[in-house]
C-alpha cells in the first residue's frame, strides 16, 4: 500500500512540475508573440501617419519632379505597412482589402512620373489623403486593446470572430474596399484576374455535357474509356466549365472544358512513370503532332524544362501580321519521358486570345541603345503587355554581356514605336 501511495504521489508531483513548466513556457511564448504583434501594430499606425503626411506633401507641387521624393516615400511606406498587415492575425476581409488599397496607393504614386495629367493626380491623392486619415483613426481604435497590453492573443482572436467581436471588422473591410475602388484604377494583377473572368464573355455556342466528353475522347482516346465523373462548375465560377474526372488503367486525372465553345482549359493525369527516357527530339515531335491534331495550329516552340519523369514544354501563339509571338497566349504541355505520352495540357491562357493591333516600327540604332559590351544574339517581334496593361508590339531581343568572366544572357523587350523598354529579364 505504501509503495502504491509513493508511486502515485511521485507521479502526480512529476506531472505537476511538467505541466507547470509547459504552462510557463506557453505563457512566455504568448507574451513574446503579443509583443511582436503589438510592435507591428504600432509600427503600422506610425507609418500610416507618415504615409498621410507624404501624400499631403505631394499635393504641394504642380510638377511631378517636385514631389518625387515624397512619392518615393509613399511607395516605400505603403509597402512597409502592407508587410506589417500581412504578418498580423486580422479579419481576412479587412486584411485583403487593406493590402489591396495600400498596393494601389503605392503603385499610383510610383507611376505618377509618367502621368501627364497633374489635375487628376491631385484629385486622386486628395481623396486618398482624406480616406487615409479616417482609416488611420479606425486602425488605432481597432488595435488599441492589443497595443495597450489589455488583450491576450486569445482575446484578440476572439475579437476577430464576428460573433463575439467588439469591433466591426466587416464594416472596416467594406469601407476600405470602397475607398480602393473609388480612389484608384485597376492594378496589373487585378487586370489579370479580370481577364481570366473575361472568358465568360466568349461568344462561342455552348456545348453539352456529351459534346464535352466527346472532345475529351477525341483528344485523349487512350485515357477516356473510364470517365468516373462529369460535374458542372459551381455557380460562383466566373465562366462555366465541365469538370471531367477519369481513371484509366494506372492513370488518374481530370480535364476542364469550357461550356462555351468546348475549349480545353486544363488537363492533367498522374500515373507511375518508367525509368526509360526517350530522346528530347522524339518527345518534341510527338508534342507538336499532338498540338496540330488538336487544332492548335498557330503555335511555335518557346522553351522546355526537363525534370525527373517528364518535360514541361511551352508553346506560344504567333500572330500573322508581323510573325510576332504573343506571350500572353501560351500553351503548356507536360510530356512523359518514358513513353512520350501527353500527361498535361494547359490552354487556359491561349483560349483568351489577346487582341493585337497594328503598330508603327521606328528605326533603332542598337549600337547607341546598348552599352558597348552588349551583343544582340537574337532578334524577334513579340506582343507584350506594358505596365499600362496595353498589348504592344515589341522587339524581343536576346542579348549577352560579359559579367566577370561569365556570359550573362538577358531578354530585353523594347516597344517598336516608342522605344520604351517594357521589360528586361535575366535568362537562366
Amino acid at each position: 500500500m505504501k509503495k502504491i501511495i509513493f508511486v502515485l504521489v511521485y507521479s502526480i508531483a512529476t506531472l505537476s512540475i511538467f505541466s507547470y513548466g509547459k504552462t510557463a513556457e506557453n505563457e512566455q511564448l504568448s507574451i513574446a508573440l503579443s509583443g511582436q504583434y503589438a510592435n507591428k501594430m504600432t509600427d503600422a499606425s506610425k507609418k500610416l501617419e507618415e504615409l498621410d503626411t507624404a501624400v499631403k506633401k505631394t499635393l504641394l507641387f504642380n510638377e511631378a519632379d517636385g514631389s518625387s521624393k515624397a512619392r518615393d516615400d509613399i511607395w516605400r511606406l505603403s509597402s512597409d505597412i502592407k508587410n506589417s498587415v500581412s504578418s498580423l492575425p486580422l479579419d481576412p476581409s479587412f486584411s485583403t482589402s487593406w493590402m489591396n488599397y495600400l498596393g494601389r496607393l503605392g503603385n499610383y504614386a510610383k507611376e505618377a512620373d509618367r502621368a501627364a495629367d497633374n489635375v487628376e493626380y491631385h484629385r486622386v491623392m486628395e481623396l486618398a489623403s482624406k480616406n487615409l486619415r479616417s482609416m488611420a483613426d479606425e486602425w488605432q481604435v481597432a488595435t488599441a486593446g492589443m497595443v495597450s497590453g489589455n488583450l491576450s492573443i486569445d482575446g484578440w482572436k476572439k475579437r476577430l470572430d464576428v460573433a463575439d467581436s467588439g469591433h466591426d471588422w466587416t464594416g472596416m473591410g467594406t469601407s476600405v474596399k470602397q475607398y480602393a475602388e473609388s480612389d484608384f484604377p485597376l492594378t496589373a494583377s487585378e487586370s489579370d484576374s479580370m481577364k481570366k473572368k473575361d472568358l465568360k464573355n466568349m461568344a462561342d455556342p455552348a456545348v453539352t455535357r456529351e459534346e464535352a466528353i466527346a472532345e475529351f475522347k477525341k483528344l485523349f482516346p487512350h485515357l477516356s474509356n473510364e470517365t468516373i465523373g462529369v460535374e458542372m462548375s459551381q455557380p460562383g465560377s466566373p465562366y462555366p466549365f465541365y469538370h471531367i474526372r477519369f481513371a484509366e488503367a494506372e492513370s488518374v486525372g481530370y480535364i476542364d472544358i469550357t461550356e462555351k465553345g468546348g475549349h480545353v482549359l486544363s488537363f492533367l493525369t498522374e500515373r507511375p512513370f518508367g525509368k526509360e527516357s526517350l530522346p528530347f527530339e522524339d518527345l518534341k515531335k510527338k508534342a507538336e503532332t499532338f498540338l496540330k491534331d488538336a487544332g492548335y495550329k498557330d503555335l511555335v516552340y518557346e522553351e522546355a524544362r526537363e525534370n525527373n519523369t517528364a518535360w514541361h514544354m511551352v508553346y506560344v501563339r504567333v500572330e500573322p501580321e508581323y510573325g510576332a509571338k504573343v506571350f500572353s497566349d501560351v500553351i503548356h504541355l507536360k510530356i512523359a519521358k518514358d513513353n512520350a505520352g501527353i500527361v498535361g495540357l494547359d490552354a487556359s491562357e491561349y483560349i483568351r486570345k489577346e487582341k493585337t493591333a497594328r503598330q508603327p516600327i521606328t528605326k533603332k540604332d542598337w549600337k547607341t541603345f546598348f552599352h558597348s559590351g552588349v551583343e544582340i544574339v537574337k532578334e524577334e517581334y513579340a506582343y507584350v503587355e506594358n505596365d499600362r496593361l496595353e498589348q504592344r508590339l515589341a522587339h524581343y531581343l536576346t542579348v549577352t554581356i560579359n559579367e566577370n568572366g561569365q556570359i550573362g544572357t538577358y531578354a530585353v523587350i523594347v516597344d517598336t514605336e516608342t522605344s520604351e523598354v517594357i521589360k528586361t529579364e535575366k535568362l537562366q
Partner: protein, 289 residues
Amino acid sequence: MIQLLLDHFLFVNNINDFGQTIEKGGMKVKKLVIRMVTIILLLGCAYATSPVQIKAFSSQNVARGAFGDDVIELQSRLQYIGYYTGTIDGTFGYGTYWALRNFQEKYGLPVDGIAGLKTRKKLVDASQYDEKFVKDNLNKGNKFTYYGSKPLASQVGKGAGKTENVQLPAKYSDQDLKLMANAVYGEARGEPYEGQVAVAAVILNRIEHPDFPDTVGGVIFQPLAFTAVADGQIWLTPNERAKEAVLDAINGWDPSENAIYYFNPITATSKWIWSRPQIKKIGLHIFAN
C-alpha cells in the same frame, strides 16, 4: 578460354603429381602462348573495327532545357578545361549553352550549342571526369568547382546543403518549391493529385493577387491563412507527390481555375469563407474566389 585454363591446370598437375614428360609440358606451353596471342589479336581487331563508342554520357543529345547526369558530366568536363565557370548543377541553361558553343568553335565543330555525338566524343577526349568527386560533392551540397588546372581538394568548400533535384522556371527558387511542397503536404496530403496541384495553384494565385503578400513565404505564413501553419503540420516532410504537384502548378497548371481560397466544408468554422463565390470541388476541398 576455359579449355585453355583446363589444359594449363592439367599440365601443372602432370608435373607436380607425376614429375613426368617435361618435353610434353614444353609443347603445351608453346601451344598455350600461341593460342593466347591469337585471341588477344582477334580481340584487338574486333575492338579496332567496332563502331565509335563514348565511355561517358548516355546515348542522347544534350541541349538547353535538359537536366540530370548528362548535364552534370557536360558541365564538369567543360569546367575541367576552363570553358564553363558557372555552378555544376545539372541544369542546362544559358551559361552551359555559351560555354559549349565556345568549346565547339575552338575545336572546329559545328557551333549549335547541342552536345551531339561528335561534340561529346571530342569533349571526352579533351577532358577528364571524376564522377565520384563531382557526385559526392553534389550529394553533400558542397560548394565546389572542377577545374583541371587545380588540385581537386583545394576546390571544395562547405555549402548550404543538398538542393532540390528539379528544374524550375526562372522566377522560382528551390526554397519556394520546398516551402510550397511543405504547405501542400500539410494541407492536402490525403487529397487527389489534382487537389494537391490546386492547393499549390491557390498559393501562386495569391502571390499574383493584390490582396495578398507577394512572396511564397509571405502568403504561406500570413497569419490565419493556412491551417497547416497554425497546427505545425507544415513542418512534416513532404513526399515526392507533393513536390511534383507544386512543380506542375509552378509550370502553369491551375486545376482550381483561378481560385484564391479553398476550404473543407466539413471542418470550416468561418462563416465568411462560405460567402465566397465557389468555383469547383476537388476531393474534400471547395475552391473559391
